[in-house]
């Protein structure tokens, strides 16, 4: 390992330990496990019978989700709908939930444009609104669902932009923030996926 890789790995390990401590306060025990169940990205698409939010919760708790491989759904209309929903967070939330019944599908090769779009919205428009105005202006469920999807993908890619979006939001979101919504545990699952992504990256760097 060269000096650059060593410096990056050390920083990621330090952040990993810090997030584990933060996350243990929120009492999700699986988050502290050093050995996560290994995820495999879909060859094409995972078909799942459950709903997206339950699947995210299961993945965050390091449980397995029953599924089979199938063909990816039509992308063109979904992507257009997603782009058209940038000012309708509830609609976007529903679109993403419907699309990613199995959340690991966000890592499918067919989802490249979607991932880039989600990353860009998080790091430009949403970041700017939070920094210049208030976190409370955003639809917490929509924001957290997108962060969860990006966090899931961050474990599959060596593209550090995705991991850094998680770093950025970990630093940006107030630690005491507890969104009032039916799925406020999405904040905990985000931390769980973040810890996993950090572990994957510093292990990979090693």
């Amino acid at each position: 390992m060269n000096t650059r890789q060593q410096i990056i790995a050390n920083a990621l390990r330090q952040r990993h330990d810090e997030v584990c401590k933060t996350a243990s306060i929120t009492a999700l025990t699986a988050i502290e496990a050093q050995q996560f169940r290994r995820w495999s990205p879909p060859e094409t698409w995972f078909e799942s019978t459950g709903d997206s939010l339950s699947a995210i919760r299961a993945l965050a708790a390091d449980e397995q989700i029953a599924c089979t491989e199938t063909a990816p759904p039509d992308e063109s209309s979904f992507f257009d709908d997603l782009q058209a929903s940038i000012r309708e967070p509830q609609r976007r939330f529903e679109l993403l939930m419907t699309r990613y019944l199995h959340p690991l599908n966000v890592a499918a090769s067919s989802e490249y444009r979607v991932r880039e779009h989600l990353l860009e919205r998080l790091m430009v428009a949403d970041r700017s609104r939070i920094e210049q105005h208030s976190l409370h202006l955003l639809h917490a469920g929509d924001l957290l669902l997108r962060l969860n999807l990006i966090a899931i993908y961050a474990s599959f890619t060596t593209d550090l932009r995705y991991l850094d979006a998680l770093n950025y939001y970990y630093e940006l979101l107030p630690s005491a923030w507890s969104p009032e919504l039916p799925h406020n545990w999405l904040r905990v699952s985000f931390l769980s996926f973040y810890v996993r992504a950090l572990a994957v990256h510093f292990t990979h760097t090693n």
């Binding site: 952040r15 550090l160 970990y170």
Partner: protein, 235 residues
């Protein structure tokens, strides 16, 4: 060649003006548009103050000459506004030099015969967007400057006029290195204008395939500072 420096601040535009004014065949204008973060009146008052300070501090009559010869232009509205574009068209400018904090629209870009040049502190097409200096260092890639003609996208303009590696090993923090690279515009803009006034300039293609980078987290900024320090120590 008629060149227009597009800026919000007189001081930053005047720095570029001083670097390019004496190039052969150049007629240079400074075009100040209101900052998007201030009202037009507040922007112009701030610029008038800068104008006076620059003139008095440097015992420099050049700002007054610019004003007297109609080469210092204060736009009342943003650069894409019809009135502003009309003013730009009437100036019959060949090229614009970007010093304003905006993404240009086609109507503004098209007001210049050749387009608007941007001094970008990263190597294109690989490094588009924000914090590209930091990302280049983090990923162990070449640090440098690209001068290219902008389009309406984020660093996606297809015509790259020049691209050069820059040595930053004497700097131990991102802030210092960044300031150094930004200030190189007074070196790179004259070089770029010289290329444009020469015989048939050639362009490299920016195919826009490089990923778009975003503002960096504090965690990775710290990593980049440490990487710079390690490089500095290694000489």
């Amino acid at each position: 060649m008629r060149t227009g420096i597009l800026a919000h601040s007189f001081s930053s535009a005047f720095t570029i003006y001083k670097a390019v004014q004496d190039l052969p065949g150049q007629e240079v204008f400074i075009i100040l548009s209101p900052s998007p973060h201030r009202s037009a009146t507040a922007s112009h008052l701030a610029n008038l103050a800068r104008f006076v300070v620059t003139t008095l501090k440097g015992f420099d009559l050049k700002p007054l000459q610019l004003l007297a010869t109609g080469k210092l232009i204060f736009l009342r509205r943003p650069l894409h506004n019809e009135q502003s574009v009309d003013t730009l068209r009437k100036l019959e400018l060949d090229v614009g030099l970007h010093k304003a904090g905006v993404i240009y629209r086609d109507v503004t870009i098209n007001a210049f015969r050749l387009g608007i040049l941007n001094h970008h502190i990263g190597i294109l097409p690989a490094y588009r967007g924000r914090s590209v200096l930091e990302w280049s260092i983090l990923q162990g890639d070449t640090v440098g400057i690209t001068v290219f003609f902008v389009d309406t996208g984020i660093d996606t303009g297809a015509r790259i006029l020049m691209s050069e590696e820059v040595d930053i090993t004497s700097y131990t923090s991102v802030a210092e290195a960044k300031e150094y690279l930004f200030n190189l515009d007074r070196i790179f803009f004259p070089k770029a204008l010289a290329l444009l006034t020469g015989s048939e300039p050639s362009f490299q293609l920016n195919d826009g395939t490089g990923p778009r980078y975003f503002v960096m987290s504090k965690l990775f900024e710290g990593v980049v500072d440490r990487l710079l320090q390690a490089k500095h120590r290694a000489g």
